[in-house]
């Protein structure tokens, strides 16, 4: 029996003194009694729990308040999206993908469109690229707002969440005016987008841009400016650079550890090469850094949206689209920087009417994998905020 708490989960069933059958047959096996003769507690956090952000089930082994080991148990929201895509025509797949990451569907749609275009060699008009980028940035901001609000709730602050929802409501109004939907957009298609900007939406976006900075500063002051919040975030949930890279983390979680990697800049797509923005970075990789990086990203978002609205080119919003899209046999991979990280679509076509195989590289899935490392050693309250700071969306993880 090892004394290293990180190794607790590695102990085999024979070595455990846990009475009765082992829970779920998972790796998380209680160590039994320690020198104080106190039993460790295995707590099933979720799938019904206010802070697991959906139907996530985490097994945590507790020594009092301290988390000894943790393991995520996934699959409660599995709908077989990847398999279903194999029996859908190419233009039908975005409907499924909207339901993967339901907080920022436009990113998944765009990744799909890019992958199909790459394989089929479809040219996209300049304006469509700009529209995609605009919509993605609007959606990124809305997604980060959801994260910011729920993160505050995880830390016990109720008020910021509702202030943030006011902000998000304005943004969803804009997105609804453009795409016709608040959540399941189905807006980006291979070859372009479904519709041009409607009349009057420009004024709506500018009205939001007027207040966006003020609202963001207000929300940031309520959370990041609060001493209690800072005390809880600093130094908790530390994920170092090596761990983050080893687990394939991307997005804000990776940048919080100081790795300068943003697909929008490093593997440019859509209108991003023509835009001017910065990539905020963290140092320590703790909860505070992840908070700061995401709030910094939101400020950059506002900057990007302003540029996109000002510089929106004239022209067609979509290239010629045939009724039935046939994609030549082959493979392609396209990735976008979703609010959670590198969201990739790996597409294999056999030349038929439907994809042969579609694989979604879900950034939140990779980010979530780190919970074993990140939660152990903290307290229950740290585990909750650390999980919140990873910004997971179960729809995308379980697919």
């Amino acid at each position: 029996m090892t004394d290293d708490p990180k190794m607790a989960w590695a102990i085999t069933a024979e070595g455990s003194q846990f009475p009765g059958p082992l829970p779920c047959g998972l790796r998380c096996i209680p160590r039994g009694v320690d020198e104080l003769a106190t039993e460790h507690l295995v707590l099933n956090m979720g799938p019904q729990h206010p802070s697991t952000h959906g139907v996530l089930h985490i097994l945590v082994e507790l020594d009092g308040e301290e988390v000894i080991a943790a393991e995520a148990s996934l699959g409660y929201l599995h709908r077989g999206i990847e398999k279903l895509a194999e029996s859908r025509r190419y233009h039908q797949v975005p409907t499924l993908l909207d339901r993967a990451d339901y907080v920022s569907g436009l990113h998944t749609e765009t990744a799909w469109a890019l992958a199909v275009e790459q394989l089929a060699g479809i040219e996209v008009p300049g304006k469509a690229s700009w529209l995609r980028a605009l919509l993605m940035e609007l959606n990124r901001y809305a997604s980060h707002l959801v994260w910011l609000g729920t993160f505050g709730m995880d830390a016990g602050a109720m008020a910021p969440f509702l202030y943030i929802m006011r902000d998000r409501e304005m943004l969803l109004d804009v997105i609804e005016a453009i795409t016709g939907s608040r959540m399941m957009f189905n807006y980006v298609r291979p070859g372009g987008v479904v519709a041009d900007l409607p009349a009057g939406v420009d004024a709506k976006i500018r009205a939001w841009l007027e207040v966006a900075d003020t609202y963001l500063s207000e929300n940031d002051a309520l959370l990041g400016g609060n001493e209690i919040f800072r005390m809880r975030m600093k130094g908790t949930g530390v994920i170092d650079r090596a761990t983050a890279l080893a687990f394939g983390m991307t997005g804000g979680c990776l940048r919080a550890t100081g790795v300068d990697y943003d697909l929008r800049r490093d593997v440019p797509y859509c209108a991003y090469p023509e835009l001017d923005f910065e990539v905020p970075l963290g140092v320590r990789g703790d909860n505070m850094d992840r908070y700061d990086v995401r709030v910094g990203e939101m400020r950059q978002c506002i900057r990007l949206i302003r540029q996109l609205v000002d510089g929106m080119p004239e022209g067609e919003f979509s290239g010629k689209r045939s009724r039935v899209l046939k994609v030549p046999a082959g493979e392609s991979y396209a990735a976008v920087e979703s609010p959670r990280g590198e969201l990739g679509i790996h597409l294999i076509s056999d030349g038929g009417l439907t994809p042969y195989r579609m694989r979604l590289r879900s950034p939140a899935y990779f980010n979530l994998a780190v919970v074993d490392e990140a939660l152990a050693g903290g307290l229950i309250a740290d585990a909750i905020v650390t999980l919140g700071s990873l910004d997971i969306v179960l729809g995308e993880i379980d697919r």
Binding site: L41, L43, H49, P50, S51, L62, G64, E65, G152, M153, D154, A155, G156, A157, M158, A159, L162, Y163, R166, L222, L223, N226, I228, F229, M231, R232, L379, I380, A381, D382, I384
Partner: protein, 336 residues
């Protein structure tokens, strides 16, 4: 005191507690609603005033469930163990010059003793539910609320020294008149440090955010009250609001002159209204904090208590004792 008198006072306490509960729940919803950019209840009755009564009817008519594996006796008795002390703590409150359930020489001590029984009930509820979440909630209550009793009591010592009595009526009476001709003789002015400690400790004592460790919605769901439903849960809820009223009322008596208006003499009929108004102002501030702050972490809350609040309040007791002892001597020396 005749049996009828006792019964009458008992009934008055009960009515006060229930009315308080109803009003405070409505107030909490409206205050939090406003803080959260919401409206709060506004459907049932004028301005949503009947929402709380509907909720009480719902709680009363719900099936009384108890988990199979719970410790039946403890599980059943815990809500009352939480409720009864907070009900009894109304006894020493002084609502007016002659208006109190009963005058006790050690009324303040009684109030604190009774409120300190509440964590016992919370621990019992958490333990007997036989649920891991409840257990953690109950253990937190045992560890934290009992710890915060200490600064709460120490911070009350300053006003007690100034009044020279543990009788709430005398503490209030000692705060009549003015200092230097215009400052009301409220103990909060010299005892501001003690008041800050009292305010923080009472927020923790009533389990409100940022100190709602034993409930901790985002961590423990509802902590110790997880397995409770129906009126048993209602009693716990009622006790929480009753406790809020009591700590605020005691704070009013200790630091803000109780039922007295500043500068002018208070007519006897007005006194209870002044007292209630001051108490509710205190409750409003507590709700304000509750609506806007995030939660502490367990270890931070404990170390804050043991490393900050208790030393500060202890030091303040010593300092104030010296000041009060030496002041006459110094004043006499100066006047000579």
């Amino acid at each position: 005191m005749s049996a009828l008198g006792i019964l009458g006072r008992f009934a008055a306490m009960l009515v006060l507690l229930l009315v308080n509960g109803v009003v405070l729940i409505y107030m909490l919803r409206k205050v939090l609603g406003r803080l959260h950019l919401r409206i709060g209840p506004n459907r049932v009755g004028p301005f949503g005033l009947l929402q709380t009564t509907n909720d009480v009817i719902k709680l009363l008519t719900k099936e009384d469930l108890r988990p199979d594996s719970a410790d039946a006796w403890l599980f059943n008795i815990a809500p009352y163990l939480i409720f009864v002390p907070s009900f009894m703590a109304y006894i020493p409150l002084v609502f007016g010059p002659t208006l109190a359930v009963t005058n006790l020489d050690t009324g303040l001590l009684l109030a604190f003793a009774l409120t300190s029984l509440v964590p016992l009930g919370v621990l019992m509820a958490g333990w007997s539910s036989n649920s891991k979440w409840s257990l953690i909630g109950g253990m937190r209550a045992a560890g934290l609320q009992i710890a915060y009793e200490v600064p709460l009591l120490l911070s009350a010592l300053g006003p007690v020294m100034m009044a020279g009595s543990l009788d709430p009526a005398r503490i209030v009476a000692a705060q009549s008149g003015v200092w230097l001709g215009f400052i009301p003789r409220w103990f909060v002015i010299p005892q501001i440090l003690a008041f800050v400690v009292y305010a923080i400790a009472s927020q923790a004592e009533t389990q409100q955010t940022p100190f709602d460790m034993s409930e901790a919605e985002s961590e423990l769901i509802t902590g110790f009250a997880n397995e409770y439903g129906g009126m048993r849960f209602g009693f716990m809820y009622l006790a929480e609001f009753s406790n809020t009223f009591i700590v605020s009322a005691i704070g009013t008596m200790l630091f803000f002159g109780g039922w007295q208006l500043p500068w002018v003499a208070t007519p006897a009929w007005l006194a209870p209204f002044v007292f209630i108004a001051k108490t509710y102002t205190g409750i409003f501030v507590m709700m304000w904090a509750r609506g806007s702050l995030p939660r502490f972490r367990v270890d931070q809350m404990l170390s804050f208590c043991w490393k900050v609040l208790i030393p500060v309040s202890l030091a303040w007791v010593v300092v104030w004792a010296c000041v009060q002892r030496l002041w006459p001597v110094v004043a006499m020396a100066v006047s000579r």
